[in-house]
Amino acid sequence: MTDAEFREAYGRHKDMLHRFAWRMTGSAAAAEDLVQDCFLLLWRNSTAHDPQRGTMRSFLIGVTRNLALKRLRRYRPYDELEEESAVCSPIDPAGRERGELVAQAVDALPPLQREALILAEYEDLPLEEIARASGAELAAVKSRLHRARGNMRRMLAPLLETRGTYGTGR
């Protein structure tokens, strides 16, 4: 990979990866570290991306999600990556902005459900691409997304029922 190709890939994907990493970790500082590590890895091992196996975007999302999951395992070692039976309770919206409540609800999802929800809802990625980036079957991604939406509906029920009552978002 030439310097120009690297810069082109960085310029094209940095914002999306930063948003994804921020929502996965809940921290802007951690997101910056993860995206830097992702591109460092690409620079050091530019042959790691095989265009036959997927786009550069899928590859970079895959690297960033692996780094994010690694970080989660370090900081929250007792969290299960995929809790199929995880049922999240409604959150208490008292005195907080809607955006903040949504962030809290996303953070409460099991990591693999969170990843599927972020890539589908916020980045509008097709399910096939999410499956490629996360190295999972398409059916598994559909199932994670379905459970994630169910959990989000439960957690945000107070907001979905009474839209406009709690703040204006950020």
């Binding site: 930063h18 929502r23 910056e32 995206v35 830097q36 955006g99 916020y122 945000l156 978002g169 950020r170």
Partner: protein, 99 residues
């Protein structure tokens, strides 16, 4: 599950907004862009030892040669006497005055 529910949930989710990559990330990934004057003030270059030794030796030799050099002749063209002719009728005026 109603499609309307999905729509309402999607709209609600969009209320959590985060920004794209900050400029500090550009610096961390691509490095700080160097201007020529910054390079002149803080830059460094790496040269192989043999090249450095050769340059130092060359500088020494040139300095020694400059110090030994004789002073150069004064500038200007040499005087030619080819067109020189004595004055035919010199009307010499003798001025006498008090000594």
């Amino acid at each position: 599950m109603e499609p309307e529910d999905d729509q309402k949930l999607s709209e609600l989710l969009k209320e959590w907004r985060v920004t794209g990559a900050p400029p500090s990330l550009d610096e961390r990934v691509l490095g700080r862009p160097k201007t020529w004057w910054r390079f002149l003030l803080t830059g460094s270059i790496r040269i192989p030892v043999p090249v450095g030794v050769a340059i130092a030796a060359l500088l020494l030799v040139m300095t020694a040669a400059l110090l030994r050099q004789r002073p150069a002749p004064p500038p200007g063209s040499p005087v030619s006497l080819v067109d020189f002719r004595p004055v035919d009728d010199p009307q010499v005026r003798v001025i006498r005055g008090p000594l």
